[in-house]
Symmetry: C2
Subunit: 230 residues, 2 copies
DNA sequence: TCAAGGGATATGGCATCCCATTTTGCCCAG
DNA sequence: CTGGGCAAAATGGGATGCCATATCCCTTGA
């Protein structure tokens, strides 16, 4: 087992102030561990073991596992426990084919309704991202990058897009942090972000949709290539 | 209460041959009732009541309610039970904005890889649909229509599209069967189906994507108008 | 008559027990 | 040494009990 009882829940048990909060919290803990690789793909998540470690009963753990299953992160088989699914290169391509469609829709809709304030926020994030890129501060670059993507999906006016995209991204994040691409891909990515900003400034919904879809398809290709090279 | 113990589960309890089958079955029963309107929007689904009626314990019912919640069909609040959410016109627009993006993607991908056999299947369904339309057999028309949409999403080569689309459609179906549109809309819809067939015959992915997206956006508009007129 | 307070009831969340099935490991026969 | 079979342990699923809290109704006082 890869973690002792000492690195326990990090957070204290989150006092059940809201309904189903415990199961949600358990799901978050497990999701984090899956994403960070603490639970390797293929490893088995046993209800009784987790409930003992987190010092609660099996019921919320069961619910959490069900949640993770619906998110596509694990497979649950009877008497064999939950197993972390591996995200293959092919999975990444399929995932980003859909994510591209969703985020493209978000960009398209946002371009049509974007407010000056929202544009300012985006300009700010965009500028920060460019700086981090120049400086070579990868972690900050990726954070800001994610921030921009999240912002677009949040601001597009359709929460359903955000919800669907969130679930898909959880699966994609599994394993690597979608980190470090090649310098060329990085440069291309920055360029695509710049193109989106131009489309948004011009309120050109069609262009925004096109640019952003290509950006995400490229991201998918890049991630798939990375997963393949393992 | 709108149903007695005599119109029980319709199906016999589904023998737990596969794992989690019971919860899944309960979810199916409840979903059907929500879609058919047996449970009106706003009505409360009480764990204990349902478990008593279906003659099983609260556990699978509870899981089923969680599933329905993740599908966006119900809201669960502590001590207030699960309540069926109402699908408003605005919801329909948002839903179909996303569904349009997904099915458009499916059509685009399918056009690129469609086999002669698949095209034959589609031609067959399409012809049947046209016949039903001419004859005015609405139920058959809608069935075949759904069949075509399902087929496209299934055959596009990306199961993630199918999954995401399925969840969204469950919410859209809530209430009316998405039934009866105006004659003009019906004619337009048929025309759009015909346009898709042409694009698929030509293996023109771009045209297929465009046509199909418009078709679904129109469907969303139509449904929203219907919901609004209530 | 109406409003406010209190208690009974309803309800979902968590813990725990039991069961069916699968997995695992061991022992013995060949 | 190997393979098969059997028993014990492991494991998830379902059932049930208890608890905290929200809801609802009835009572009571102004």
């Amino acid at each position: 087992m890869s973690h002792s009882l000492t690195d326990l829940p990090d957070d204290p048990p989150p006092a059940a102030d809201s309904p189903t909060a415990i199961a949600q919290w358990v799901a978050d803990v497990l999701r984090e561990r899956i994403v960070k690789g603490t639970y390797a793909p293929g490893s088995r998540l046993v209800e009784r073991r987790i409930s003992a470690e987190l010092e609660l009963s099996r019921t919320p753990v069961r619910e959490a596992l069900k949640l993770l299953h619906q998110d596509g992160l694990i497979e649950i088989s009877r008497n064999r426990g939950a197993q972390v699914l591996r995200c293959t290169a092919e999975d990444a391509l399929r995932l980003f084919d859909v994510i591209a469609a969703l985020e493209s829709l978000a960009a398209e809709r946002l371009a049509a309704v974007i407010t000056p304030a929202q544009l300012d926020d985006l300009e700010d994030m965009h500028a920060r991202m460019l700086t981090y890129h120049k400086v070579g501060s990868h972690a900050d670059y990726f954070d800001t990058n994610s921030e921009i993507h999240e912002f677009i999906v949040e601001s597009c006016g359709n929460p359903i897009v955000q919800d669907a995209r969130g679930r898909l991204m959880a699966r994609a994040r599994q394993g690597r942090f979608m980190a470090i691409h090649s310098p060329e891909r990085l440069a291309q990515s920055v360029q695509e972000h710049e193109a989106l900003m131009q489309a948004l400034r011009a309120r050109d919904a069609g262009a925004a949709a096109l640019v952003w879809r290509q950006h995400l398809l490229h991201t998918g290709d890049s991630l798939a290539a990375m997963l393949d090279s393992d």
